[in-house]
Subunit: 506 residues, 2 copies
């Protein structure tokens, strides 16, 4: 046996389980539910799924795939494209999979990421026939050490009938000790989660499994697909500055201290860029308690701004992968990876008082947010953890540029075409135009803040025109709308490729 | 001093604070935020608000009124009608107040009931100049004992500058000991809520206040306005039976036991009637962990079905008021009243695994629920605690009759005109037509269950027609919609007084 493998296989009796990826892939039964490790392109099952792609060339079979969150190309592109995936949950972010979802070829259950574990416990997700779990090592006492994400793997491991491990020796051994695995008991027999600050460790360093369930071990050297985020630009920098000024005002008002509260920042370029804005600020001693640690968090650790960061995955661009994974020891006492049930748990988000920053696709003049559906119909990625955080956070902040498609689309519309976050869950909105603090306001009180501070100048007049006529038409009701027109901006976009009213047929 | 008052005033030094309602009302300053006790017509401030109504006859003044939830006529009808209320939150259910809200004369901030306490802590609700708090007694060591609701009073008492107590001697002394007041600390310095089952007591029997803040004590003998719920009818009975059968199937599937899980049931006639359905069932040893204990809960305690019931208020019809308040000793070890921050806390709802039953105003073919806005514009009551429960419950169930206005309105529409509960938070739907179990399903998988099982037969064809054309128009996207038509049922209703397509001008 490869000494690099031997070293990672603490429990020697498991050596006999080592097989090829093809042999492992052959074990996957048609028509079953297959759980896989992986959360936003980190810690994904990879070599067994790729062997399934090969197998699909000669054989028709379908599986339901549940993961932590989005996976890299091996599953959400190649395996999807091979026609193997019948159903997918709870999150994805791949163009190929998205295309198949929006043609009805893959059934997609997008769900709050903190809800998955309960659905597994109740058997709503399941029965899970196989779990394919990427690990960096198996300890002598049988703990499976995940790689750079935890996601839903602990609960999957508890409920799966069979476990196939991808022992990935390309991940550094220094990942061992970074994880903190705590799995709540059944509802009704459950203790409070014993965590009162985000830096606390409450569990074990790996996933404890019934060893008899380990069906196969496959050795892998495949690296994770790198994060696809783009660097900050002038507009995201403006948004970051607006947010920093908002925090300064909150400190002045006595509502925050200079250390703020634990920060959560959503997946994607805008949220990452906004977080990056802290690098040149006076804020320090910050704590991050998030889903995903993206590039910005490590930049802030390096800059001495962030003292501790907790999440369920680490997703980095190629450049940062090299810098971080090559020097993981340096970060070992400053980061922790937890199951997504814990990182996203309402109990902890509320208790710790998180400041939550997530991305909106569009939002309306009353503060409702769409974060998933393009024009109300086509799935983009999914709600992910944004609902877990926004609903329970101390401060639920949504960021978006005020426009899209070169100005043809206004991100602020009369009525969103799909609601993921209701008016009750949206505290603050930030665009490159400005910031709207909606806390404690009635719907109509929010309108002028949203239009005047956040909308793109090209659309302000059109938004006011709609609102004023809606007030008139409804006799100044609680939430004025003209239902005939409420979604007309999206209709106009479909017909004329713009939300601008003056444009006729393109 | 009236010996009945003396008996309730344990802390004798407070006797000097006793004044008339008029004198107390004169203390309320124009332009301030006034918090009041009361939750769904239970434990409301009453005599001081009525004195404010009198004062308003000779003087122009405005206040912002925040409470636990809806109040009886004294505040939400008379005080509103007197033009005294500028802003109101977080819930109401009165026709007069509703009318003023929907004319823009009162600004209404409807909010998740578990969120209020955090907003008070952060000063978003506030500064609170006065709290008017109904109490049944003040103990020798200065604990204020609320009457038949707790609501937001403990957090209001902590943050209010002045406290006016309505010592209501018409409430039975046997209320003393029924409350369990626990107030979490500031976020970041907060311990886990030490409750692992709904029957546990974790706090004190009254509200501990800074006694220097007590500005006045007014003696009251005003009873609470009775609950307005109507008795179960044949259709609600059918809904109850459908739900009982669903629970039986869950038990068979091993997902529930005969004791079920703690039950939450929303405010209103339908939810009450559904709960009433347990009376003739085989279920027993049930626990209720809800916001409000309505008639049904006491019927179930009397029938030996419910062994314990926790909530933040008791709201009964006149008949039940007599039966229960006259025999409170009988229920003393079976009920507990908690602050709404605790009864509705996501931490506890998730930990205890509640089964949550709330009422929908309308819902759509993909499972989104509107529980607040008539045709997307006019406020009915408010979201109340339904979001706290549905989002975090083990089972989030919504009930509604499939039709309204004698059949002119379908409660199931292509797209809801306002979203309070997104598709991610709605597990099960029950109408008098049938039940739809949406757990684990993708949007399109939900459609046939919702239309076939739950829609009224008069609207099924019209719903299928919309859906089938939407699938065609969007190339079978994740959530097919025809945006030009999505809200056309509501437009038709406004124009023709019916959602039925064949009808032309009425």
């Amino acid at each position: 046996m490869d000494p690099r493998v031997e070293k990672r296989l603490g429990l020697k009796q498991l050596a006999e389980k080592v097989v090829s990826a093809q042999e492992a892939a052959a074990l996957i039964e048609d028509g079953t539910v297959v759980a896989m490790s992986g959360f936003t392109r980190a810690g994904d099952a990879k070599v067994v799924p790729m062997a399934l792609v090969e197998r699909a060339k000669n054989e028709k079979f379908k599986i339901d795939v549940y993961t932590g969150a989005s996976l890299g190309p091996e599953v959400d592109n190649y395996l999807a494209d091979a026609g193997v995936i019948n159903k997918r949950g709870p999150f994805q972010g791949d163009a190929v999979m998205r295309g198949l979802i929006n043609k009805g070829e893959i059934s997609y259950v997008d769900a709050h990421l903190s809800h998955n574990a309960e659905l597994v416990r109740q058997g709503i997700i399941g029965p899970i026939k196989h779990l394919i779990l990427e690990a960096v090592a198996i300890t002598e006492d049988g703990l499976i050490i995940p790689t750079n994400s935890v996601g839903n793997s602990p609960i999957f491991a508890q409920y799966a009938e069979n476990i196939i491990i991808e022992l990935n020796i390309s991940h550094p051994e220094s990942l061992i000790g970074i994880h903190d695995i705590y799995v709540p008991a059944e509802q009704g027999q459950r203790e409070p989660i014993p965590m009162t600050n985000a830096e606390q460790r409450i569990g074990e360093i790996g996933i404890r499994v019934d060893l008899d369930k380990i069906q196969a071990i496959v050795v892998s050297e495949e690296p994770d697909a790198p994060s696809l985020i783009v660097p900050p630009d002038e507009e995201t920098q403006t948004m970051a500055n607006l947010l920093l000024d908002f925090f300064r005002a909150e400190i002045k008002a006595g509502r925050l201290t200079n250390e703020l509260m634990p920060l959560q920042s959503g997946v994607g370029s805008v949220a990452n860029a906004v977080l990056d804005g802290f690098a040149d600020s006076e804020f320090e001693n910050l704590v991050v308690a998030s889903e995903v640690l993206q590039d910005a968090v490590f930049n802030l650790i390096d800059a001495g701004k962030v003292r501790f960061a907790a999440a369920t995955s680490i997703t980095l661009t190629e450049e940062l992968q090299q810098r971080v994974y090559g020097n993981l020891e340096k970060y070992a006492d400053k980061i922790v990876l937890r199951p997504q049930e814990i990182s996203n748990h309402p109990e902890l988000i509320r208790r710790l008082g998180l400041i939550s920053i997530n991305t909106a696709l569009e939002l309306d003049i009353y503060g409702n947010v769409n974060s998933t559906h393009v024009s109300g119909t086509k799935m983009m990625n999914g709600i992910g953890g944004s609902g877990d955080f926004a609903r329970n956070a101390r401060l639920g902040i949504f960021v978006t540029k005020s426009y899209a498609k070169g100005g043809a689309i206004s991100s602020i519309v009369p009525m969103v075409s799909h609601v993921d976050h209701t008016e009750h869950d949206v505290d603050v909105i930030v665009t490159e135009q400005g910031i709207a603090d909606l806390r404690g306001l009635a719907p109509k009180e929010r309108v002028s803040l949203i239009i005047e501070n956040c909308a793109h100048p090209d659309f302000k007049e059109q938004l006011w025109d709609y609102y004023n006529r809606a007030v008139e038409a409804t006799g100044n009701a609680q939430t004025p709308h003209i239902l005939e027109e409420a979604l007309s901006w999206h209709v106009n976009l479909a017909k004329n490729k713009t939300m601008k009213k003056e444009t006729t047929n393109a």
